[in-house]
Amino acid sequence: MPEKSGAEILIDCLTEQGVDTVFGYPGGAVLPIYDALFQQKKIKHVLVRHEAGAAHAAEGYARSTGKPGVVLVTSGPGATNAVTGIADAFMDSIPMIVLTGQVSTTLIGTDAFQEADTVGITRHCSKHNYLVKDPADLAATVREAFTIATKGRPGPVVIDIPKNVQVATARTDIKSNAPNRFHAAGEADYVAINKAVDLLANAKAPIFYTGGGIINSGPQASTALRELAELCGAPVTSTLMGLGAYPASGDAWLGMLGMHGTYEANMAMNQCDVMFCLGARFDDRVTGRLDAFSPDSFKVHIDIDRSSINKTIRVDLPIIADVGTAIQQMIDVWKARKYKPQPLTEWWTRIKGWRAVECLNYPASTVEIMPQFAIERLYAATKDKAPIITTEVGQHQMWAAQHFHFDAPNKWLTSGGLGTMGYGLPAAIGAQMGHPDALVIDIAGEASIQMNIQELGTATQYRLPVKVFILNNEWMGMVRQWQELTYESRYSESYSDSLPDFVALAEAYGWKGIRCEKPEKLDAAIAEMLAYDGPVMFDCRVSKKANCFPMIPSGAAHTEMILNSDEVSGTMDDEAKALV
């Protein structure tokens, strides 16, 4: 029986798993794998400019396609540079396989050149990780890694492969007989589903609080959610990660909930009688002050991860299942019992009252571009093109979540849990690789975009027509906003000094650069960006003072939203200051 090298076995396994794209950066400890890549044609390698970019690009690819993203980096700094992206994927449940080179097994532990304890460093920010010490173990490891990354609650899996294991050979005809040791929750228990459906049918003020789990469960989960909402007539809100699962144009849509969610969504969460948390995890950005979170509701929580149940909020009916399957089961039971939608007239009347507050209104200006206005115009110009939107982290991200509206899943890629500045540009590159014909726009801030600005070169190299739309207010806006709320406007290090000329920078990388400073010129400038068949960096100079409202301030309840800047007091007690 012929033998193959570890590197060749690895490439065979990736091909077997249906991998068509790998994001990576070569280095000493992965040279054998890069040589094996060179000698095949099935897998396309995307050369990033920094390993952090590779990890975020793989996330963008995964989030937009539903397939696992694959990263290939070298040992030591290659692996440590990828750690932020691994942690990001872990927090946001993104399926990802990270292949890291390692020094030879004979050198491990000797402080060898470019040695780092990659499995040690990534142990608690990955779903699982491996150090492969024999090429004969490689195939079984890669297969299990893909299962773990994609099944159950998805997440990143790291495979650390020493250089001598890449070079050494092993027989390829040995099938692993290791039992499958990873089991994911699937169908829900029908006793619980029956109870949930009864609650839904009899609720006077129900609400669906949906999350990224619905996106991860697949497009059929979004379809099922729409059907269930239609059947029962209950309102729907979503976390940041779940935007697009229920269409923003749908009648039952309340907008996003949480710290920068809508007034109607947060009030409805507070006042509901039965809450259906579907694939969300009661994150602190969603709940506000825990003891004031939806105090009188019966809480049903459907989640695939048992550790999400009762982690921060005690729930009354936990259901551990794949959320898409569970929603479909609820639909089946609803139909079998011939339930009819309740009018919920009183509930919807109250919601209409909250909607009438028009919490997303902002002071208009004819002199300067309001950032909210910029997002609105971008949305108006692109909504018919079904764009994929990525973001960085900060005010621009929240404005995008509030004012850009999503009607389909997998179109909104943002760093929610970890809140990683520098995510958006590489994620856009990854999404564009997965969707060559789609319109992909990174809505960015002038500070965040600089965190992975080197990836401009990657887009140029692969002729990826991504658009970067920078809301440039010359401030780390969210930091400044918190300093205004909490520290009496002492602006400690939050000004974006010495900014580059973004137009010139874009041109230096072979991109088109556009700058717009006047509201009356915005539509034309956006049209120019969209008409250009290549990457564009759009420096949108927006109002420097605008802040992101509405907002639940730190340590406050859903009912204590700040609706506009007039309500900002400028100080906070220590208990509130200490919360994140």
């Binding site: 499995v119 040690g120 142990r123 608690h124 779903k127 699982h128 990780n129 150090l131 773990i148 040791r181 990873f182 991860d305 048992r306 550790s307 149940i309 009762n310 982690k311 005690r314 220590d574 208990e575 200490a578």
Partner: protein, 171 residues
Amino acid sequence: MHIKEEISERHVLTLTVDNEAGTLARIAGMFTSRGYNIDSLTVADISEDHTTSRITIVTKGPPPVIDQIIAQCERLVPVHKVTDLTEAGPHVERELALVKVNGSGDQRVEAMRLADIYRARVIDATVSSFIFEITGGPAKIDTFVTLMREVGLVEVGRTGIVGLMRGSEAS
């Protein structure tokens, strides 16, 4: 503002895990990274084919935290089963300690007498010292060690707790 402490309960957890590199680090590190306590931890291979280990962890925390600890353990790939012995009902807990004392005359006689009462065995002796081996529940060992401090305690080695459910079923 001051940091508040919550009221904790002591729980004994047993975990059935794959006997492979990194499993112990994964579990112990998870406790650290999520801010959980470990009072004692024991681990040993328990299977005929050396593929499975049993870990006994004594931890403490408020009940919701204990529930979360169990869920987080179960989430780890090499962990196959987690049992909360404290919650599951009647169970036995045992620990082994080696206790070295040094002394002469009455002190030495008193050490021997106490050891006899506590059913500790002498497993090493010199003209001036003993090493006692004692097994029992943690409270018994605590008491024995406290007594030995009075009669020339030199050092103690303790294994940490192992536990099993009472009755015929596996835990």
